[in-house]
Symmetry: C2
Subunit: 405 residues, 2 copies
């Protein structure tokens, strides 16, 4: 039997991504399987970025991304490449061309995106873990929606060789897993060896991020917040954005649009791809703002980064709900989805704009659908955050009976 010769019950894999790569016989991840977001290169295969026209107009990759070769060398077997939102420009996970991968933890809801297929494949048990990328929440949001562990790594910490750039000042690698031990083990392999750092010990809670979340979601996350406080000491309430997270979101929106147009605009003008309606609208906006002088915005962004680094120092950690609530229903209208996305962006832009690492942990369910609890740490504290996830798994994770619907 070929490695990729399984039934894709979740609709998580790209049509052109049904191939596998056998991992080394021994290693830390021996016997484990993983999937790769179709933004990450595999030698000899075209990386499709969620759009069929992209697939059609690009040549096969000439090398495999180092993150993938590292995992293979550690014994993990790659079973296929997963669907993403088009050019990673969405948080929803409903690709117009390739369909909406199944959120196995809440089948009537979207999986979240843009690393939708990776989250879907792990949620459905098709593989043990999966690689994604996160520019504006593309790992954290699907992790929260699908009841998985997910990490956005410190910006610049991991090589993006072999990863298609989308918004270079925002793009990072991340991954999903169902359990904390494997979630952390992948980090041990991919992340640089831990530097000596003071332990994370100052817990802060973002009141402004809380303000974006549904009240039921906050209620259900209360035991998780309490478990964090038991482990890390008293919680200090803070306000992250003195001028409001909506300003930060607008900042993020403009910056991401200008960057993605700088990277993809020429191709879009030349190849004239068909995009799904929401993505087409977003690229129309990106095109419109593409010429704009962003020096004021870049200054503001630098101040945001500095403010966040000051807040966390070298031992602080900020906790917040990963998303406003559980995933939108698959049947939700475009308008409702867009409103929800904007609230989510006000929460995800915090580590996006500042480059700080963030993990999302499955922590509760609302109406039977998962919601995640996030931790944002100092730059380079990725391994410490992963260790916290392992330590806290029993205390934070909803019990089986609580999650059963």
């Amino acid at each position: 039997m070929r490695i990729a010769d399984f039934k894709d019950t979740a609709g998580a894999f790209c049509p052109h991504g049904r191939f596998g790569l056998q991992g080394a016989a021994t290693g830390l991840l021996s016997g484990r399987t993983f999937a790769v977001k179709d933004f990450i290169d595999i030698e000899g295969h075209v990386t499709g970025c969620g759009n069929p026209r992209w697939l059609e107009t690009h040549a096969p990759a000439t090398a495999t991304a180092p993150c993938v070769t590292t995992l293979l060398a550690a014994g993990a077997t790659m079973i296929g490449k997963t669907i993403s939102d088009e050019l990673a420009y969405s948080l929803n996970g409903d690709n117009f061309h390739y369909g909406t991968p199944v959120n196995a933890a809440a089948p009537d809801r979207v999986p979240g995106g843009s690393s939708s297929g990776s989250a879907s494949a792990v949620s459905a048990g098709l593989c043990d873990f999966a690689l994604g990328t996160d520019s504006g929440g593309s790992v954290r949001i699907p992790a929260s929606y699908c009841g998985l562990y997910g990490i956005r790594t410190t910006h610049g910490l991991l090589s993006l060789d072999g990863v298609v750039p989308f918004m270079p000042s925002l793009d990072v690698l991340g991954w999903f897993a169902r359990d904390a031990a494997l979630f952390a083990a992948v980090g041990e392999l991919l992340l640089p060896p831990a530097k000596t750092r003071p332990p994370l010990r100052r817990l802060m809670r973002s009141l402004d991020a809380d303000g974006e979340a549904d009240s039921t979601t906050l209620d259900r996350l209360a035991p998780g917040f309490a478990a964090l406080a038991r482990r890390l000491g008293n919680t200090t309430p803070i306000r992250i954005a003195p001028d409001g997270l909506e300003k930060w979101r607008i900042q993020f929106r403009l910056l991401s649009a200008v960057e993605t147009w700088a990277v993809n605009g020429a191709w879009i003008e030349q190849a004239k791809p068909v995009f799904g309606p929401a993505i087409a609208e977003r690229f129309a906006f990106a095109r419109e703002v593409s010429g704009r002088d962003l020096s004021a915005e870049r200054d503001a962004r630098a101040r945001i980064g500095q403010r966040l680094r000051d807040i966390v120092g070298n031992d602080g950690v900020i906790c917040l709900p990963t998303a406003p609530g559980p995933a939108p229903l698959r049947t939700a209208t475009g308008e409702a989805v867009e409103a929800f996305r904007q609230r989510a962006q006000r929460m995800t832009c915090i580590s996006g704009l500042s480059g700080l690492p963030q993990i999302s942990m499955p922590a509760a369910t609302v109406d039977g659908a998962p919601v995640g609890l996030s931790l944002i740490g100092p730059p380079g504290s990725d391994l410490d955050l992963l260790a916290l996830a392992v330590e806290l798994e029993g205390a934070i994770r909803p019990s089986e009976s609580a999650t059963s619907r």
Copy 2:
């Protein structure tokens, strides 16, 4: 809004097939919409044949197939290209790479194939009619499973310019529609003008085809058979294959394998595509038998064709259940699906091997899922069969209350 800018709720369209072509302002089909199986060329687009590697290794078509241009000129608007089984080599409709399009008439069941996406799109109301191809049942079977009208045209009657060849001595064009009037109107446009023929008046019923069908299916089709008899006079029971339909199926299987390897074998050896498990097995068989001397089989086939033409003469029509029963469940095991497919092939190979035209009409439901009633007519009687479908629609079609589940 672009023509193809709709939500593909059925997962019926290819990722690379989300584009439209506006029909002429006036014409017989003005205001109607249609979809095209991704075996039929549209200028400037690669025809994908249900396999991503095929898509990757073929150039865009340099002309649009005449069947499509005819429909566009008659005012119909093309809304996209639909998923098919890989290289059309299945009757099931579960594409390993692109997923299983939804059978809107029985969502827990497969749509049937290989023209799966075309049937799915029409069943879901995404368009008014759709083009397919039929070599071994690829229009008739999905028509039966999805509760649609479907036709396999007389072999050689319609040009296959711009249609990717699969099994040249068996391939024909066909189409699906929800109502008989449109079903016939498409025929008026695509088929050559009617020659003067004697009216169809001798009704025969195939006892050996009946023998392949489930008894419940036969029971439910009884009113349909009775309506046919009221219109065409007494029914003469006949045995089509004196030596048994299984011998014919084996004949069909060998012939189709040798032909498809002759057409596609070189590409398969060179491009090394990944196939889903069932398709891979079938091509392995095709490769194995590819060198074989088939002169005896070709003689036998000629005798089969002659026998069928003798049976129908110029005014006879054979009625039979289109398939052994309703579509297999999406969750059915490979083994069960394969056994069912072999029974279906014993029924579909009759017109396949003889080149006679066959229509399938929605006629009953079993466990709430559609089953079709078929008519096989003399060579070139396609328009007469379509006219019969229109005439009999009220008498044969299950009433709304009977089909509601």
